[in-house]
Symmetry: C2
Subunit: 161 residues, 2 copies
């Protein structure tokens, strides 16, 4: 069995509108899919550790909406929302993403779960922004910390499912 | 009063993920907004003239869905669908767009209506694709014909509202 890559590979090519991610998990595709699409489970892992997820909803169907509210240690709340495009499957799960602090600046996210065999899964992510500037702003926002800390919590959660 | 620009300005910059459009209409913002968001009206103008719009639905609210089915002279049907992000307003109307002939290749559309005064409106459009290749494919598909012929029909429709 090859070694799992638990570091998230983050791709930010110059002048691109896109950020790509790839991360391996020691859990089968169906469990990873559930942890990514059941809002009660998502609330347990998503985001950086210093933020508390105080609201998390997700209707995993074409036209469904999702929301996320995170509270920082000072009590400030940060809201996010989007809509689901297509009925999500492990092969293709797509949605819009908007931070309510920058309304109208929306990105389009695609997740694909790859079966690595031996009960392991690689999660491929793509976020396409409305401009290179929007993309660069997200890339400079410390998103790598949020992704890596969130995926570490997801490791722990998957071990309990 | 300045001259209206009834030719659609289409922007396709090299290596960009985006197509931009701009087109002026001799109608006030509220009428243009209605013609762009009432599916019974949309069915009367959208697309190139050689295609018949046989199905057109649009729920103009956050999480709403839209569909379009166009029939060509040979009887072949072409389906499109998407979801609405945010409650559409004249200032900001956003949605996803997918041609069912290339499932999973989705673009994100933004429309902004600019009041030009004297009962005239400029429609600014942006479509961001998931890759430069997807964008180039759309730009080479004859979309300019569809846009221009559709907007000419929209001119005629707006005169009746």
């Amino acid at each position: 069995m090859s070694t799992l890559n638990r570091e998230t590979t983050i791709g930010v090519e110059p002048n691109s509108y896109e950020i790509t991610t790839a991360r391996d998990f020691d859990a089968p595709v169906d469990k990873v899919f559930r942890a990514l699409h059941d809002p009660e489970l998502v609330a347990k892992w998503i985001g950086p550790k210093y933020l508390e997820n105080v609201e998390c909803t997700l209707e995993a169907r074409h036209g469904g909406t999702w929301t996320l509210v995170q509270r920082d240690p000072d009590g400030n709340e940060h809201g996010f929302r989007g809509v689901v495009h297509g009925d999500p499957t492990p092969e293709l799960s797509q949605r819009t993403f908007e931070w309510l602090g920058m309304p109208g600046h929306v990105s389009f996210e695609t997740l694909r779960l790859e079966d690595l065999g031996d009960g392991r899964t690689r999660v491929h992510g793509s976020s396409v922004f409305m401009s290179v500037a929007d993309r660069d702003g997200m890339a400079a926002s410390g998103m790598d910390v949020g992704i890596n800390e969130g995926y570490e919590r997801l490791d722990d959660l998957l071990a309990t499912l």
